[in-house]
Subunit: 386 residues, 2 copies
């Protein structure tokens, strides 16, 4: 397979964007990415879109051709992919594969979700549909409940403390204060996290990502043509996509998601680098405990050390391995179908040296997108062109 570069990125702010339709959100991110890439829309040979539940949340399905038409695209194949919160990661994976294999030279990939126009119970129900209706949802398990089980088990098995878990949220809220596209720009303290409203014991409000609107997009190009459009391409050097158990009751271990481990192994093997070579990580912190679990599953810390890592400052922007300098899902926001590309947007800004929380001289970045309670994961490793 040949090399693939990201030559343009675009994003709306994430947050409560009441006045902007889902179509317009996606169009804004796509136009920004095309402009950033210096690519006229006529050059895009395919369009991939990640979206989770627009039919339930805004009553509009079949978004790929709808958004493509609004962008002025013509005739090209347009594909919408749904994989719960990993929808955009899987969409990126397909754009990547089809450029890498030479089917297309230039592909536009976007993700979008509009959630704040629905009520919180409606959103909770829509999200629960990503879990197993027959075995779990009907029994009352929601995502906060599922990750509360993960947290309890991680505390039990590894002595992870309530304070360590809270520190993830403290770090990520701190990081997003300076992120122009973040939903929240407000510091929180450990006391505020553990004192916030109980959602699913032990998780409290500030342990949970918000309900968000937003869109993000990238333009992919064959690496050997990237110079035609930009002098700062970022290469995709590893792509992993793996299946995990679709229900909590089928997990071997409540504190680890096999899909993340397998997707990471695939991406690292392809990239030919070690975990220690990665300079910056955007990972799927849908809940504070998820960042701890993900950072272990990705191989950055030994099993059970994720809580200590955040407490020791290893994952701070100035730490050993900065995690979620964007603010992550917890504080940048989590418009479900856009999130995976929002992460890539952040990593590319890091590798270009233009991030509001810049990691100095970042060469390799990693984006990790998780769907369901580990039913699916994607991992992409990006490299600044040497």
């Amino acid at each position: 397979m040949r090399g693939v570069s990201i030559i343009g990125i675009g994003s709306t702010p994430f947050g409560r964007l009441t006045e902007i339709s889902i179509r317009e959100l996606a169009v804004r991110a796509c136009r920004a990415a095309l402009a950033d890439a210096n690519v006229p829309r006529e050059l895009a040979q395919a369009f991939y879109l990640g979206n989770y539940a627009a039919d339930v949340l805004v009553g509009q399905n079949t978004l790929a051709p709808l958004i493509a038409n609004a962008l002025g695209l013509r005739r090209i194949p347009c594909t919408k992919i749904e994989g719960a919160c990993a929808s955009a990661g899987i969409a990126l994976r397909h754009g990547y594969l089809l450029v890498a294999t030479g089917v297309y030279d230039v592909v536009l990939v976007a993700g979008v979700e509009k959630m704040t126009s629905a009520s919180t119970p409606e959103v909770t129900a829509a999200l629960a549909a990503a879990a197993d209706l027959e075995t779990e949802v009907r029994a009352g398990l929601t995502f906060p409940g599922a990750f509360a089980l993960v947290a309890r088990r991680h505390m039990h098995d590894y002595g992870t403390t309530r304070e360590q878990i809270a520190l993830v949220s403290v770090k990520n809220h701190h990081n997003s204060v300076r992120n122009d596209v973040a939903q929240f720009k407000k510091e929180v303290s450990v006391a505020e996290v553990v004192g916030s409203r109980l959602v699913a014991d032990p998780l409290r409000l500030y342990d949970c990502c918000p309900i968000s609107d937003g869109a993000a997009a990238v333009v992919l190009c064959a690496a050997d043509r990237a110079h035609e459009f930009t002098d700062r391409p970022v290469d995709i050097v590893g792509s992993g996509h793996a299946l995990g158990a679709a229900a909590m009751c089928a997990l071997d271990d409540l504190t680890s998601f096999g899909a993340t481990r397998d997707a990471a192994d695939e991406a690292f093997a392809q990239a030919g680098i070690e975990r220690a070579d990665v300079d910056v990580v955007e990972l799927h912190d849908c809940f504070s405990i998820a960042e701890i679990v993900d950072s272990e599953d990705l191989g950055f810390f030994a099993k059970g050390q994720g809580g200590r890592a955040v407490a020791e400052g290893w994952t701070a922007t100035g730490g050993r391995i900065p995690v979620n300098p964007s603010g992550g899902l917890l504080s940048k926001g989590h418009p479900v179908g856009a999130t995976g590309l929002g992460q890539v947007y952040e990593v590319v800004r890091q590798l270009r040296g233009e991030h509001p929380n810049q990691v100095p001289d970042a060469q390799f970045g990693l984006a990790h997108n998780l769907g369901g309670t580990g039913a699916v994961a994607t991992v992409h490793i990006l490299r600044r062109r040497p």
Copy 2:
């Protein structure tokens, strides 16, 4: 790109399958396809699933990993694709591309929809979400209304008669009487069609496809490895996937869908054959008028001649170019996310010489899947291994 073969097919019956969950429908079709291919599930390297609206219709989203787990698949990338009524055609296209480019050798592709557990108004609303909410759905346009506009315009521009349109339904109901997987096994007369309940003038009940449950699946394999599993592979020799206008108001011509024309041109160019070389066609007759329009857009008849073609018997199973010997969406049924693979199931049975309405010595077959009112289309051309 290398050759790709279909080495196994499976399908549930289409119809009202009240007692079978959506997961079980998909599992049954997949198991049948794997068994037909003599492929143990461990050999599948990726899984693609077409589904339109399970979240709205049955409250379950993120079906690809759910069904993969139920099948006993492990670790492999699983992807759900949504493209309205063309969801399964786009899923097939992706399995095809990723085998053709050498990413995978063996891929399982399925489509599924469960619709009859929702009420008819709920299904109508769910389907309408494939059209443009902002410009059309809120104004009251539903799919029967949209295709009624197409019918009126075709009658006006080309003199197509009410009887010619009805004859599509008569033919397809006749065909499905002998199809073991069809929803309806009952002949209808022209008088019964034009006397049936009015749905959207001039379309009546028997001009409209039914609401259906069902699933279909295929196993794809690199052509040069097909002999390891089967002695009757069917090759995919052309694949087209194109974007059209996402709203009726953006169509240049109400009587033609550009996405079908473009997808057909792409598939025929790749296959290197002429329209006259095709022996059997399964096309997207969601309404009787759609078969007339599709048969023209695919290039089998000159513009305006589709009505005459059915009246003259050219599209009957013994005619010049047999169209929908399965019974088509109109009478075989239309479980939306499964339909595109249901068509391929029928074409493969024809090319193997084992169809209940066999076209003698069929060598080339075509499957045409349309989404929305022409927002997206796929065309696949299949060939019996010479």
